[in-house]
Amino acid sequence: MFEGYIADKFYDEMFSPDGKVREHCEALDRKFQQLGNKEFLSRKATSELYFMRQGITFNVYHDNRGSERIFPFDPVPRVIPAGEWEHLEAGLTQRILALNLFLHDVYHDQNILTDEVIPRHYIENAKHFRKEFRGVDVPKDIYIHICGSDLIRGGDGTYYVLEDNGRCPSGASYLLENRNALKRAFPSLFDSVGVRPVDSYPRDLLNMLHHISPRREGEPVCVLLTPGCYNSAYFEHCYLARKMGIEIVEGRDLVVIDRFVYMRTTKGLVRVDVIYRRIDDDFIDPVVFRKDSVLGVPGLMNAYKAGNVALANAVGTGVADDKVIYYFVPRMIEYYLGQKPILPNVPTYLASEEADFKYIMAHLPELVVKAANESGGYGMLMGPQASSDEIEKFRELIKADPRNYIAQPVVSLSQSPTWCDGAMEGRHLDLRPYIIYGEDVKIVPGGLTRVALTKGSLIVNSSQGGGSKDTWVLK
């Protein structure tokens, strides 16, 4: 199946540069060889039918037909050996602990600013820093309960953290369903390989929600708050609510009375203790944030500030997602934990620092430029692929608002064999593990591997033609 596959000049997850199968992929390679092309294709079709019938789709915005598409799934799994995973787990745990200490600090005493580890103006000018919440205590002092850090690998296979996603990271349902689809369509692949299961995720998530409940006695009532069925991640919201056995609610299902939150049921109003919210801060309460939001719950922030309801994730975590603040995460780790960072950041230049600014201006065509608060592959310049017009456009944008831009060298992302129109070809990928911070830190083995299906592309987002793979962590 992998005849003629070329590992190219990139780091390949399955093959070493001499064309040999990496040791931890040998069993997988053998099983694929046993299948053969024809059987492979028929089973690939089985897996696609599974996704379609299960309705595992995402909505495409700006499409009048309101069409749903399946998230393309590639059956060749990405395999992570046990030792490598231990390293990632340790690094991610360290990182989420530091990020939480940072958020508690900036919303309380701001020691890290007083000690000038991070220049104060960066926080004060951060778009998602919620001044209104300074001094507000959150349950158990946890801010980022679910983190979806994006990891990429450089040419030598080193893992880097690309961004942290501490607001409403999505994709965990695909992680779970990719495993289900692969198990159904290719059961033989799993025989005696020793793949760690991922199905504990919903339980871990629910345990975390219970942990942060403000209710002193009795079973807490947890709900998942969704923007509604037109949201691109609606499938996931339903999926997770169902797996956890909690209600999925829209803003209009909730009502705040005397700073307590209730949901409207056929038996009257029922008090809600914990909200796993999949709505951004901006839309969550029209009284405090965007007045035009019809998705949120008027008065929710009052109930939250009064400590009568817990939110996961907390309000105001977006400040840690700011790509300028990202630059300082390794310093946070040293400042709060007194440790060396286990997982490095991608080298980053801040346009608002004079020396970095000069470097960026001189090297734009080689760099990736990102707006500090965009996600989903938007607001980006890929220097090497950009036209000179685009480069000049970004030059002006950066000059006009240097605080809002960072630049990074192009990391050429590792690749993995992926089935593309009749043959296995190398395609670039990243990895998004899901870190849950409740009573302790839990990371489901692996994560969501996203793959850029367009040849040569380094952008893996589903909105930009990305697909995904099952991710195996070996025992």
Binding site: Q54, G55, Y234, R242, I248, M263, T266, L269
Partner: protein
């Protein structure tokens, strides 16, 4: 259960039931027509017109079509998405409702409905509808029946089931009255309630449209206007008779509120109880005296009223339930010892 979820489950089931009934109606009438290949276009019109009239969508039909022929009526009722009550529209709405409460449904139930939806959107279905319409309607009906079977065997008997039951039985009762009402518009020479022929053909078609032919035959009665009307309105045990459906609605309403049958704690229960009494104790003679069309019309508007009150009580204003209304006692003479589950 969330009020919104209750409302959505109710509509999901209602739309599936509507699609199922329409599919049977069209299929049956196409079959009947096959016996009369010689019908000229004027008489064909006479055949289809009552069907459009009975659906209550005649205004929309005439906005969209100039002629009342087989092709137009079938297209209008089957796959014209400009008609919100066409089979394809209903399945689309049912599926959209299901999607918003996906977390409440079993995987099998969702897959069945989603599969039916994908079928109605497929080229296969377009081809089938042209080349082999009976197969098309069979696909729809089979899927709707499977949907019902899966929901019966995978839904916990809690509020979810009760609201689904409300949707199903209100829609069924409504459709049975509408199919019966087709007789109001029978072409000349077939309108007599008592006459055996040529009305037999039309009355048989009505029975079959309600899926009632087998059950009716088992009663060993002759097919006349009066016997069919009596069966479809008053049968205590046929699952599509209006009486049976209203009995189920009444039972579900009382399971939801927790009050005993024969009493009421809200307007929907009161309205439903009144209608049930009328059907439990009414006689075919009363109907004939009032006039069948008038009688059916009144039932239809009461059904709408019940549905509206359910929405008001459980969806629009759940806050009210917090302050429990006192239950109005009433001594029931018709309290079945055991609730029936269909």
């Amino acid at each position: 259960m969330l009020s919104r979820v209750a409302n959505t489950l109710y509509w999901m089931v209602r739309y599936v039931e509507r699609a199922d009934n329409l599919a049977r109606l069209i299929d049956v009438n196409e079959q009947v027509l096959l016996d009369f290949e010689s019908l000229d276009s004027e008489r064909l019109r006479g055949f289809w017109k009552p069907i459009i009239l009975s659906t209550g969508d005649e205004e929309r039909f005439h906005e969209l079509y100039d002629d009342v022929g087989s092709y137009q009526v079938i297209h209008f009722l089957t796959n014209d998405t400009r008609n919100p009550n066409s089979i394809v529209s209903c399945i689309g709405f049912a599926r959209e409702n299901a999607r918003t409460v996906r977390d409440q449904l079993s995987d099998d139930l969702w897959e069945e409905l989603n599969g039916l939806y994908l079928f109605t959107k497929s080229e296969e279905s377009t081809y089938l509808l042209e080349s082999n319409p009976p197969r098309y309607y069979e696909r729809v009906r089979r899927a709707a029946m499977t949907f019902l079977g899966i929901s019966a065997s995978t839904t916990a008997r809690d509020g979810r089931w009760d609201f689904m039951s409300l949707g199903r039985h209100l829609e069924r009762a409504d459709k049975t009255t509408r199919f019966l009402d087709i007789s109001t518009y029978f072409p000349k020479g077939a309108e007599g309630l008592e006459r055996a022929s040529p009305g037999v053909l039309h009355w048989s078609a009505i029975l079959s449209s309600c899926g009632a032919m087998g059950a009716f035959r088992a009663t060993r009665q002759e097919i006349t206007g009066r016997t069919v009307m009596t069966f479809l309105l008053f049968s205590p045990d046929f699952p599509r008779s209006v009486r049976y459906c209203i009995d189920q609605v009444d039972a579900a309403l009382h399971r939801i509120s927790g009050t005993s049958r024969g009493t009421y704690s809200n307007e929907s229960e009161r309205e439903c109880g009144m209608m049930l009494a009328k059907l439990n104790f009414g006689k075919p003679e009363d109907v004939l005296e009032e006039g069948l069309h008038f009688f059916l019309d009144e039932i239809q508007s009461k059904l709408n009223k019940i549905a509206g009150e359910i929405f008001e009580t459980y969806v629009l204003m759940p806050e009210r339930i917090v302050t429990k209304l006192p239950v109005v006692p009433f001594l029931s003479t018709n309290q079945p010892a055991q609730e029936q589950e269909q």
